[in-house]
């Protein structure tokens, strides 16, 4: 079985007018099918860049990266992944259902198939009844759920999510986290999930990748032994707290490195 994502000595340096920015340096990571991997770290540590590199939206400057055993470009052309951006990026001239149907239109699904999938994914993210609304008529949380539905609509096996719940309040966030876990459990998708929040990372993940900035790199990879079935109150158990403590230590280690340099 080939890994879904496999990075070896991956590096990415942005050339800017004020010199080079090392966004990723020497990243080694393997993600297997069905894993839920969270990326956590302070801003600027390259989480978004790593996700965008997987998605073939940025090109690595060193090392190798394969997705399902192929180059990121071929994986993208195979429509191997669905991407949820940090902002909903819904097209304002399309209704919610038309936004969700957008990838299906592009991928040439029939009208009846489009209608069926739009309905199914809208149910999945609890947006039924808002089909004919425009994005700007919906709250931020609903817009982000629509963008998740759009990424789910064409049923790619890999889901890349860049701080999808970053702008939402905690109540909505808890709810969406539970929903996302259920969805992951049911669909057996592989999920890469960027977050700022330690509890969110521990609650969701089978693997937590701790990153630190300047240069962006992986400082720790923590395998979680929590059960797949996770009620919200699992967050008070000793196992949960132990993993959270390890993540916090990893972040602090990265941070002290940071302070040496400033």
């Amino acid at each position: 079985m080939t890994a879904v994502v496999s990075a070896q000595n991956l590096g990415l340096t942005f050339k800017t007018n004020d010199g080079d920015v090392v966004a990723l340096s020497d990243v080694n990571l393997t993600i297997d099918k069905g894993e839920f991997v969270s990326f956590i770290g302070p801003s600027g540590c390259g989480k978004t860049t790593f996700l965008r590199t997987i998605a073939d939206l940025e090109q690595p400057t060193s090392g190798t990266l394969t997705i399902n055993g192929q180059s990121p470009e071929n994986a993208r052309k195979d429509r191997a992944y669905g991407y949820v951006f940090q902002a909903p990026a819904l097209y304002p001239w399309r209704t919610i259902e038309k936004n969700i149907a957008l990838p299906l239109e592009i991928m040439g699904h029939s009208k009846s198939q489009q209608a069926e999938r739009v309905k199914r994914t809208m149910d999945l993210v609890n947006l039924s009844g808002f089909e004919k609304k425009y994005p700007w008529q919906l709250s931020g949380g609903m817009q982000q759920r629509a963008s998740i539905a759009r990424a789910l609509a064409f049923d790619a096996d890999l889901l890349l999510m860049d701080e999808p719940f970053g702008a939402l309040d905690e109540i909505v966030r808890d709810h969406l986290n539970s929903e996302l876990l259920k969805l992951w459990d049911r669909t057996k998708k592989t999920i890469c999930f960027v977050t700022h929040s330690i509890p969110e990372a521990v609650f969701l993940s089978t693997k937590i990748v701790v990153m630190s900035p300047r240069p962006g790199r992986v400082t720790d990879i923590i395998e979680s032994n929590l059960p797949r079935e996770r009620p919200l109150d699992i967050r008070e158990t000793p196992e949960f707290l132990a993993i959270a403590a390890r993540v916090r230590d990893g972040l602090r280690a990265g941070h002290s490195y940071d302070e040496d340099h400033i």
């Binding site: 073939d56 939206l57 429509r79 991407y83 951006f85 001239w93 991928m107 700007w136």
Partner: protein, 366 residues
């Protein structure tokens, strides 16, 4: 009552009172209606003790307008109180519009029809003042004919005006506009694909749009003959570049994240163009369509100054001035103004329908 309303009410009432006092020296039966208006205007000062509805001001303004229009010339040489009555009636209509817009303000945003009421009142007041001043002060019609004369000319020369309208608007403006805008759009899409063309054509575009039509019109007449074809060509030349420049800018209006989304679907160039970049360019394209609607009419009219068959709005205006047929010139100007506004209005309406999603149209949150 706001400070402005207080001031308007005081001056309008006071002026009516003073004019009424002055008018008493004339024989009683002369200009009765005007005197009635002045008396009522005087009485409107009662509002400082007893509130008067805004429709009272509407009625006063209307009565004033009718009284002024019917008593022009009734007093021989126009007396001072007549002009005071004109100012008074104007102040009453101003006061009415002021109070009306205050009263309507909460409902204006969701009712476009109400929004038209105020400019209509304003326009009517302007016409009345124009009529009364030109006739009351015996302004020579060569300088400025009264609206009633222009109206009569509009009715009398309807066949001529219609023929001119067909020649200039239907035959020159519309085809020229359609060809110019469409080719501007198509070339913009081609230019957008090629950095070389973009670097080469856009500066030329800016240079061309700076060329005066006085320069290109005679050349087009030499190339395409005297009839409407050369006018349409001028319109094409005038509308092409605004559309080109706007569309090129509009095609870059989509955000990076919106384009990345298309990349994640492995969408091809045409899918990205049709489903993202053209819709996002909509507001820019409509901006060009609106600019061009006025440019096209101006271009066609001015181009007719440089050689034309004996029909067309520009032809009529240039020969009318020469023959001192000024009221026909004004009638032609009125037709051009109405046609131009209607053209612009139709495009603006379509714009509201097509780019309803843009924050500037829905007027809401981004």
């Amino acid at each position: 009552m706001s400070q402005l309303q207080f001031f308007l009410a005081l001056v309008a009432g006071g002026l009516s009172a003073a004019a009424f006092a002055l008018s008493v020296v004339t024989p009683f039966e002369q200009g009765l209606l005007l005197k009635a208006f002045l008396a009522l205007g005087f009485m409107s000062l009662i509002r400082f003790f007893l509130p008067l509805g805004l429709w009272a001001d509407a009625a006063l303004a209307l009565l004033g307008a009718v009284a002024l229009l019917t008593t022009i010339g009734a007093f021989g040489p126009t007396p001072a109180f007549f002009w005071m009555a004109l100012v008074g009636a104007w102040l009453f209509s101003w006061l009415f519009v002021e109070r009306l817009s205050k009263a309507l303000a909460p409902r204006l945003s969701d009712n476009a029809g109400l929004g038209l009421l105020i400019p209509m009142v304003f326009g009517m007041a302007l016409l009345v003042i124009w009529e009364v001043v030109t006739r009351g002060a015996n302004v020579p019609p060569v300088l400025l004919p009264a609206p009633s004369m222009i109206g009569a000319q509009l009715a009398n020369s309807a066949p001529i005006l219609w023929a001119d309208f067909v020649q200039t608007f239907i035959k020159s403006v519309l085809p020229g506009y359609a060809i110019g805008c469409l080719s501007g759009l198509v070339v913009a899409i081609l230019v957008d694909r090629s950095p070389f063309l973009k670097a080469g054509l856009l500066p030329i575009g800016n240079f061309m749009s700076a060329l005066p039509i006085i320069g290109i019109a005679p050349i087009m007449v030499m190339w395409f003959g005297f009839d409407w074809q050369s006018k349409a060509a001028v319109v094409v030349a005038m509308t092409f570049f605004p559309m080109l420049v706007n569309t090129v800018a509009g095609l870059n209006a989509s955000s990076a994240i919106e384009r990345d989304l298309m990349a994640t679907y492995a969408a091809d160039y045409w899918q990205t163009l049709m489903k993202l970049r053209l819709p996002a360019a909509g507001p820019f394209i409509f901006n060009a369509l609106k600019i061009n609607s006025t440019l096209a009419l101006i271009g066609a009219i001015v181009a007719e100054f440089f050689g034309t068959p004996i029909v067309g709005m520009g032809f009529r205006i240039s020969t009318g001035v020469g023959r001192l047929a000024i009221d026909l010139v004004w009638a032609e100007i009125a037709v051009a103004a109405v046609a131009g506004s209607a053209f612009y209005g139709v495009i603006a309406l379509i714009e509201r329908g097509v780019t309803f999603w843009h924050p500037s149209v829905r007027g809401g949150r981004a």
